[in-house]
Symmetry: C2
Subunit: 217 residues, 2 copies
């Protein structure tokens, strides 16, 4: 029994982010899976943990934290090594903005509850949902490719040669893209950084298919 407990769903992109941050920090934790496909996140048991009814939620230090990026910021303040944000304010702003491009411009539009709304309200079939997903992913990732390729601060990872908050968000997004067969060759810098993440054990530990609640695709 660990002092940290993660409420997660193996396929949840935001849960993947938190799992990667915990793994990069070398933290162990209890894993509690909630099956979003069955609506477990709307159960009384889960709403008592997070009234918003969303994974991830992290129990730590007597707190229940929610929202993936604020959780990762907390982990980075609480366990400073290795840092997930740069030491300078300009660098932090850059990394937070790269993370926000994914967290505020792509993922909110492309998660399960949104795709379901499109089907329910507008009769969007699988093809229309895939086109919607691809549109928002490509709009922002193409801009991100340009930003990263044109900035000398980009290194093996989004910012320098160590993985951090922006890489965590990019990694989770690129995994999501695979589910919709989006070809990442159109973004050489993003593809290179994704490959660098995949080469690290911490990201492999965070991957959906290695979670206790994973089911075969």
């Amino acid at each position: 029994m660990s002092d940290i407990r993660l409420h997660s769903y193996f396929r949840s992109s935001t849960s993947t982010r938190v799992r990667a941050a915990l793994a990069l920090k070398g933290l162990t934790y209890d894993y509690m899976g909630w099956d979003l496909r069955k609506g477990d996140q709307r159960s009384d048991a889960f709403l008592a943990i997070n009234p918003q009814g969303l994974v991830p939620a992290l129990e730590i230090d007597g707190l229940v934290l929610n929202q993936s990026i604020p959780i990762i910021e907390y982990l980075d303040e609480r366990f400073p090594e290795p840092p997930l944000l740069p030491q300078d304010a300009a660098g932090r702003a850059r990394v937070r903005a790269l993370a926000a491009m994914i967290a505020c411009e792509i993922h909110p539009l492309n998660n399960l509850r949104v795709l379901r709304y499109l089907g329910r309200a507008f009769g969007a079939d699988a093809d229309a949902q895939a086109a919607w997903f691809a549109h928002w992913a490509q709009t922002t990732l193409s801009a991100m490719e340009q930003i990263l390729a044109g900035d000398g601060r980009t290194g093996d990872f989004c910012h320098g040669n160590q993985p951090g908050l922006a890489d965590i968000c990019l990694y989770a997004q690129m995994l999501n893209n695979r589910r919709f067969d989006i070809d990442s060759a159109q973004w050489p810098t993003l593809a290179r950084i994704f490959a660098a993440c995949n080469a690290l054990p911490a990201f492999a530990q965070a991957a959906p298919e290695t979670q206790p609640d994973a089911v075969p695709a």
Copy 2:
């Protein structure tokens, strides 16, 4: 001529957030308006400033910052008084999560480019777009009401008795809700905090209708 220049659109909710943060910090700045309805954000002139083609962008300290919450975090680090985040890590996580609830769960779904996509791809008319807007606003704001009402750390504002990052995001969202005639009486705590924001000159300075590029409704 100031050393800070804000690229903005008067009605943009994310621009309103940055304007409120600048005003709360007592900072003066040059205002540059870009008309999103005319597509000015896709002009070469603007894309040279922000390749993502989104307002706001903030020129400061020789940098061009984008994404509203990372911009506000930068301002808070650079100009610490008055603080927009709590002094303790648990409080910071709470305020960042409240801000992220709006910035990651409501606003991305409800901005202009998304509503236009719904119209273009799915034939969503004004009523269907309003229902979409209301659905995402109500889902998250109802959870936020419950979280704020049930936590003793909530004060005159979202966290204690001074306005901060969460209030800034709430203020901009509540303004947006008005455009779709969403009744805020269903959320008494949120309505009370919004009124407290409206009573402060800094928020009035940030309001859409007081911007240089404002046009009558």
